[in-house]
Every structure is written in C-alpha cells, then in structure tokens.
Symmetry: C2
Subunit: 324 residues, 2 copies
C-alpha cells in the first residue's frame, strides 16, 4: 500500500486492538488477510464520497464525512443480509488539510465501525486536489442466504424500514441555516444502517432487498427490473417522520421518493411471511411499514397509487399521470 | 453502490462472462458475494492512483493508468503469496473526460485482469476535480501460508526478482522524449506483477517478502524493521537491465534503490532453501538474484556493501558513509 511516507499518521489510525484478532493480519503488510469462517461467503462493496459532489464542508464536518461513508457501505452489506466485519480506507486529500481533520474522518468511521465490531485492516493515503474518500467493506453472510434484488414475485408485500426523506430534509435544514430539527440533521450526517433488520430478513425463505441510497423510487425500480415484475405502492402509506410536518406535502413526498441516503431497507416478502416479519420487527423495536404489493410479472414498472389516480415512478421521481 | 445514474456505462464495463461464475454474485446488486473456497483465507488490498500525483497524461495513457493501478494491487497480493481473484474499482473523474478514455482505463485493467482470470465484481463512478482511481483486489492464499515481512531471520539469503530501477528509468525516457528504450517504457507503463514467483515461495517453510513499490531500500527496511534484524546487500549484485547502460552508474544505482514501482519481489529465505528456490525459478524461467544476507537480530538497519565501504540505507536512498 502507498502509505510508506506517512508512518506517523498510519500509527495514529492503526487500531490498538482488533475485534477479530484471531482471524486477520491487518495494517502493516502488503495486503490484509481475513477469514470469514466456515459456512459463510464474503460480501464486499465499495462506496466513494467526493468533496463538493457528495457533500460540502458547510453541511458535513470531517467526522460526519467518515461516519457517513462507512454507513453507506454498511448499508450495502445490510441490504445483502450480511454482517459487516472489516473495512479498508483509501483517501485522497489536499495537502493543506490539517492532520486533525484527517483524523476526525477516521474517528467518524471508528465510532460507527466500533458499533458493529468492525476492524480497519488497510488502505492508503494520497494527496489530491479535493477530498475523495473510498471505503471498502468486507462482511459475511451464510452460504445460500442472499437477499438479492431479483427475488421478488407477484403477490409479495412491499415494505420499508424507518421513515423516508429525512436525510434530504436534514440537508435542507442545514442549507437554510435553520435551528432545531436536530433529528433530521442527524439522519443526514450520521445515518444508521439497518444491519439488524437485514439479519432478521435472512430468517425468511425469499426476500428481495435494497437499501435506500438513491431514493425509494429508484430502489424499487431496481428490484422490479431485476425480478421482472411490476410493483405498486400507496402514497398514503409512505412512512414520514413527524419532523416532516414543517414541509409542504409535495416537498416531503419528493424527498421520500427521490431524496435518497436514508439507508433504510426496502424490499418484498411473500404475503404469508409478512405478519411474522412484522412480529419479529416489533420484538426488536424496528419500525417497518407495508407500502405496497408486487402486482404481476412485467417490465419492471413501479406505480404509486393516490386515491383514484396512479403515477408511473421514474428513478428521479414521477413525470406523468395515468388514470386508473 | 452509487452508480445508478450511469447504467449505460456500467453495462459497457460489466463482464460478459465471469471466470469464477459459480462462486460469485458480481455487479448488479448492493454488494458482491464471493467465496475463496475451503482451506483458503482472503487476501485484500487497495491502491490508489491520483492524476498529477502518481502520473501525468504526458507519460501515461488512460489504458496504462488502469493497467498499472491493477498491477500495483496484484503485486501486493503476490507479496503475500496469494492468487488474485476479484477486483472492485472506485473511480472519480472530471466531467469533461470523454467516455472512451474512461473505457480505456477499464480496458487496461481488463487486459491485465484477464491474464490472471480475475473478475471485476463491483465499484462506483463519481465525478471529481481530478482523476482518482482506487482499485480493491481480493485474492486467496492457503491457510497458514503467509509470506509476512516479519519472517526474516539471521543467516537468511536476501533475494530479488527481475531487474531494479527500470520503471524510474522508463519515466525518465518518457520525460526526456527519447525514442527507443521501449522495454523501459513498458516496465513503467505496464509493469508485470510477480504472482508466479509469490506462489513458488509459498512452497517454502519461511519466507519474508515485500513487493518493490517504493524502492528496494524502503522495502528491505520494512522487512528488517518488522523482523527486528539487520540486513546487508552488495552493490555489485543488484540486478540491472541492459537498457540501463545508457545511464551513469550513480543514476542507475539511485533508481535501483529508490525508484520504486518495479513491482518485483524482494525477500529473504533460509540459506538451506536458497539453491532449491534458484532451481524452481530456473525451471519456470523466472530471474532471481541473491543480493545479500540477513546479518543478525537488530534494529531494522539495512546496509549496502561496496568494496571496502558500507553505507546505511535510508528509505529515500543513503545519506552517510560508514567505513567497515
């Protein structure tokens, strides 16, 4: 790894102890060695955040940038039903960034990673024109337990966890310099990936699953396309947080459908399993809402029903109305 | 992964078929799922290349940038004795880059990856101020076979593969706009990682190993420090390519010691195993040269012997002479 001229910095971010000490060789050699254990497969993903593209210093502190970059990856692991284990960090950063800001990025990752007993096992640090942070996560999932997007079938219940649109609303609060609404701001800066729910969903026979990184419209279209089905959701059932009452319905709805970065889980499950899933979530205090159904095999279209009308959703929202 | 608005591009880089079809879920879901097989552990690493920091368009075409970024990672896997299997690519690129240049980067990776039957299984593409290319590679190595830097012991033979300093010389040829010397240029733009040698080295009981990414002085110091030994190498035995005759000895020596990016393997092996290793390499047509010895347990110092003098090597070269 290209870190040889930054030994002091590497020492400062190198974990003092490892959660998975017996399974790995971490920072300090050419590559890391990891084991996920018998009966498991590795789940791997990468997600990159770029300064002034994915965030600005005005709305995201260094700590938040690290926290959110790791959260986005853990969310991808959760959407496969996996358990996050390890992460590697590649960071390109302007030379004038003070070291404490760089450390704050790693602290944001560490605070979230510690919640999941994740070990930082490698990476590299380079200089560059703007901050580019790539986080690579390795997790594990039991062999054969794969919550793929292509698993949806007609008759399935469509569900989503938590509430939708809060991250986009939180960004709006920050950009308008409003005070208060700290819960929306927290959901924008320090979102909570839904690993626990992903694990519960692996208990069921067949679940199609996505995490809400680009907005629920886009995520449902991905599921519908991968599964060759059409889906309908009901506008009235989309879960919004109480903080959203400050916004006009149109704005709240737009954020709920297309805001993205909520890192909730959206998916489908057989109708017969829905009540058991509800019960399991109730026991674990996880909010989950039924928002629609898989209608039939089809071309991957997703509709939103609103009283007597039905709109065809596009990845970026909806752009034309269809009368039912 | 944050690729949803670039579906056309993703389709164009998505492999038509996979080398490890039965073992993985590749591009097209939230994360990839991979298995390395019973009896193996995963070897993982990341390496990042930044425009105008690690390369300039004057000396590296887009194809070369992709090729070399993947080569650097495969080299890290080789330095652990591993077999490269999968890679993920995170790329941040200015919006004015034409798509064919972006494709050329992926083609450079594909041409090298295909040589090792590696599958591209994920990644993301974002816009940014300058090209930043992070490649994550996953490989495998038999459990317990780990060619760690900390394995060196007094009495070991120090060896290096191939020739040293060619990449730095190739860059010089490019910067001076010299014609000819295409072998040096090729070693700078399309270096060949030494996976086969890494695999041969796993046949031996105890090998300390590094790849030459930062220069052999730096790599040997890392081995010496990790193993708590002192090392001496002989100036006259450092392997140089015949193309280096065009340069003054002082320059060639500097590049050999500190040029870096040669992606050869440098390491130590018990003296008793050295002749067997030589024979194995001869059989496989791999050039390997004995360049020194591990002297004694120590503080991680590396010396270079030259007739009747001995210099202490620093990571960036050598800066003071010691009389023997």
């Amino acid at each position: 790894m290209a870190v040889s001229d930054e030994f002091g910095f590497i020492r400062s971010i190198r974990p003092a102890s490892l959660f998975h000490q017996d399974k790995i060789v971490g920072i300090g050699d050419d590559a890391a060695i990891v084991a996920v254990g018998e009966g498991f497969e590795s789940v791997v993903c990468v997600d990159t955040m770029v300064e002034e593209v994915h965030f600005s210093p005005h709305t995201m502190k260094s700590y938040d940038i690290g926290y959110k970059a790791l959260a986005a990856n853990i969310s991808d692991i959760a959407a496969m039903g996996g358990i996050p284990l390890y992460y590697l960090v590649s960071i390109s950063i302007p030379k004038d960034w003070p070291e404490e800001e760089l450390l704050a990025i790693y602290n944001g990752m560490k605070d979230l990673g510690d919640q999941y007993r994740m070990d930082l096992i490698g990476g590299d640090t380079t200089s560059g024109k703007a901050l580019v942070l790539s986080v690579f996560v390795i997790g594990k999932v039991e062999k054969g337990k794969r919550l793929l997007r292509s698993n949806a079938k007609p008759g399935d219940v469509v569900f989503v966890s938590g509430t939708l649109g809060d991250s986009a609303a939180g960004l709006d609060v920050l950009l308008q310099d409003h005070s208060g609404w700290s819960e929306l701001i927290r959901k924008h800066q320090n979102p909570a990936p839904q690993v626990e729910l992903g694990r519960i969903l692996t208990e069921f026979d067949r679940v199609a699953l996505n995490d809400v990184s680009d907005g629920i419209a886009s995520e449902l279209i991905e599921i519908a396309e991968a599964s060759h089905v059409d889906i309908v959701i009901n506008k009235d059932t989309l879960p919004l947080s109480t903080s959203m009452v400050q916004y006009k319905e149109e704005k709240a709805l737009k954020w709920a459908l297309t805001g993205g970065e909520d890192f909730e889980l959206v998916g489908t499950i057989c109708a017969e399993d829905w009540s058991l899933l509800q019960k399991r979530c109730q026991d674990e205090d996880i909010r989950i809402t039924r928002i629609g159904e898989v209608m039939a095999f089809g071309n991957g279209q997703v509709f939103m029903r609103d009283e007597d009308s039905k709109v065809l959703l596009k990845k970026e929202g909806y752009n034309h109305f269809l009368k039912e």
